[in-house]
């Protein structure tokens, strides 16, 4: 149930880890979000400042983790907080990635890697082969390199950076074409900037491959009411954030093209 028994509750940050110069991971005790599945998100209240949607990067043993890039007022306030600080939580909300078997490929861009790492940990023991392609602007921003190495074999990991400071110097989409052509994959999961997601979707469509993509939109209520996060007929918060190929096809007029702004008007991405 999206609303019943999911009131905002306060909790204290128990741990903060610095993942990159711009990304920190916050670990919180929460009785509901600790049971979240990969792909789900939570709403985090930064008291007196804002409330923002964050995709869940790990959940276990009564704790939930979110990895946050400092990009705006709310996230900068969050980054300035110390362990012990009080925040509010509601969720987990949204659907989750389906659990595929066989040969699985995960493609993450930037902080979009966080929910995919959560998924990779779940799938590691269940799949025949787990491949990970991760891209970032620069070496410092390549997230969870060690953690990904812990769940995927090294030969199944490709990293790319735009400035060439680590891995291949290219966009994350570049090595995908040959990878998808030379190998068979039973499922491709992706999360990252929408332009990237759109390109990857075009590649999987061309090859008739199944895909699940986690999307991001401006969110307010998180429970499917306010309409801020709609894409096509879907609400990213309630019908997503994970969408399959059939659903992505239905939103092709907006995917990577436009979204709703704070005033509800359609604005370019």
């Amino acid at each position: 149930m999206p609303t019943a028994n999911n009131t905002l509750r306060t909790t204290q940050i128990v741990q903060i880890r610095t993942e990159s110069p711009t990304v920190k991971t916050f670990v919180l005790p929460d009785r509901l979000c600790c049971k979240a599945k990969p792909g789900q998100f939570l709403m985090l209240w930064i008291p007196g400042i804002d409330e923002i949607p964050l995709s869940i990067m790990d959940a276990s043993n009564g704790l939930v983790s979110v990895s946050v890039k400092a990009v705006g007022d709310a996230t900068r306030h969050l980054h300035a907080m110390a362990a012990g600080a009080t925040v509010g939580v509601r969720g987990p909300y949204g659907n989750s990635f389906t659990e595929s078997r066989g040969r699985v490929l995960l493609v993450g861009g930037g902080t979009g890697t966080a929910p995919l790492l959560f998924l990779a940990k779940l799938l590691a023991s269940k799949t025949e082969r787990l491949s990970f392609v991760e891209g970032a602007k620069t070496k410092d921003e390549l997230l969870f390199v060690r953690e990904i190495g812990g769940v995927c074999q090294e030969k199944n990991i490709i990293t790319t950076t735009e400035d060439g400071t680590a891995g291949l110097q290219c966009l994350v989409t570049q090595p995908l074409a040959s990878l998808l052509d030379k190998d068979r994959f039973d499922m491709i999961y992706t999360c990252g900037p929408e332009i990237m997601v759109k390109k990857i979707f075009e590649m999987t469509e061309k090859r008739k491959l199944p895909i699940e993509a986690s999307l991001e939109r401006l969110m307010r209520c998180g429970i499917g009411l306010c309409g801020s996060c709609v894409i096509g007929k879907y609400r990213v918060c309630r019908d997503g954030p994970v969408f399959n190929a059939a659903q992505l096809r239905e939103m092709k007029d907006e995917l990577g093209i436009s979204k709703l702004g704070f005033d509800g008007s359609r604005i370019p991405i």
Binding site: M1, P2, T3, A4, N6, T7, L8, T10, M43, W45, P47, G48, D50, E51, I52, T86, G88, R90, R220, C221, G222, I223, G224, L225, C226, G227, S228, V230, G232, K233, R235, R238, L260, G261, F262, D263, G264, S265, R266
Partner: protein, 305 residues
């Protein structure tokens, strides 16, 4: 049983069933209206639109209460000029009436926005004169019969479409406002908008909503809304749309018995977007079981002496 047992007509509107999407919920885009209609709504009401774009408040804009939600969105909307395009687009794909909710800061503004919405193709206009958490609009107008009458008159004079006025429950006697609206030319009334509310967090000792104060909706407000409908129906012949905490057929039937010709559903969409279909089906079964041929026959039956 007739197949049109659920169809209703009021104020010049024809609905295939008496459920409508309440204003404020998923109300920005044509695709959203279309989906709500496909989920069984007999009509849809847009988010409230004003003369200028508004970005609304920062989050938290919604907080859950014991049996409902408190919200203070701050009337985010793209402004009527941009929204007119969405109305036109909606009309090309929508098979149910599209009701455009309008707010303003003066009678002239209400009239201007309503006229543009009607020209863009709105099947009816609903006046939001009762938004309880935006200053200088709604609350003041919806609580003052003289100002309300002036707004309703000006809007009525500027459009050729049915005019619905959505009333505030945050008044001493809602029938005073109902009378003012009806005498000024309202074709129907929606009762009610959200109740004034606040949520405070014990741990941080802070109000939770960014706007501090908000409006309560959902199951918690149903008895209050039902009473408002009952009181209005007791005094006036005007068609009433019941709004407040409807999530199942029984809630809807209670509103019909109190005197509502239709119901609006908002908060319950969070639990199930198909709520319109389940309510309609349930009402249909109820009518059959009670041997009524039409939902119209049960409107106001709770007033029998």
């Amino acid at each position: 049983m007739e197949t049109n047992a659920l169809s209703i007509g009021f104020a010049g509107l024809q609905l295939e069933n008496p459920t409508m999407l309440a204003s404020g919920v998923m109300g920005y885009s044509a695709e959203s209206f279309h989906r709500i209609a496909k989920s069984g709504a007999g009509a849809v009401v847009t988010k409230s639109v004003g003369i200028q774009p508004r970005v609304g408040y920062v989050n938290p804009t919604v907080v859950q209460a014991a049996a409902g939600l408190i919200n203070a969105m701050g009337l985010p909307n793209p402004g009527i000029d941009v929204f007119s395009e969405e109305i036109k687009f909606s009309k090309t794909i929508l098979r149910v009436p599209l009701i455009v909710s309008v707010f303003g800061y003066s009678a002239e503004e209400y009239a201007t926005v309503a006229k543009k919405a009607a020209e863009a193709g709105a099947d009816a206009i609903e006046l939001n004169v009762s938004c309880p958490h935006v200053k200088q609009t709604g609350a003041e107008i919806g609580q003052n019969p003289k100002i309300l009458a002036e707004v309703v008159q000006q809007v009525k004079a500027s459009i050729n479409k049915p005019l619905i006025v959505k009333l505030s429950p945050n008044v001493a006697d809602i029938t005073v406002l109902a009378e003012a609206a009806v005498k000024a030319g309202a074709d129907a009334l929606t009762a009610v908008n959200t109740l004034k509310a606040i949520a405070i967090d014990a741990e941080t000792m802070l109000p939770i909503l960014a706007n501090v104060k908000g409006g309560l909706s959902g199951a918690a407000v149903k008895p209050v809304a039902l009473r408002c409908v009952y009181d209005i129906a007791e005094k006036f012949e005007v068609p009433i749309i019941g709004c407040g905490g409807v999530s199942n057929w029984r809630d809807a039937v209670e509103f019909f018995l109190a005197g509502a010709s239709a119901v609006q559903i908002g908060t319950a969409v969070a639990d199930d977007i198909e709520v319109f279909r389940s309510v309609t089906k349930g009402v249909e079964n109820y009518l059959r079981k009670k041997h009524y041929r039409s939902v119209k026959e049960i409107v106001g039956l709770a007033h029998r002496k």
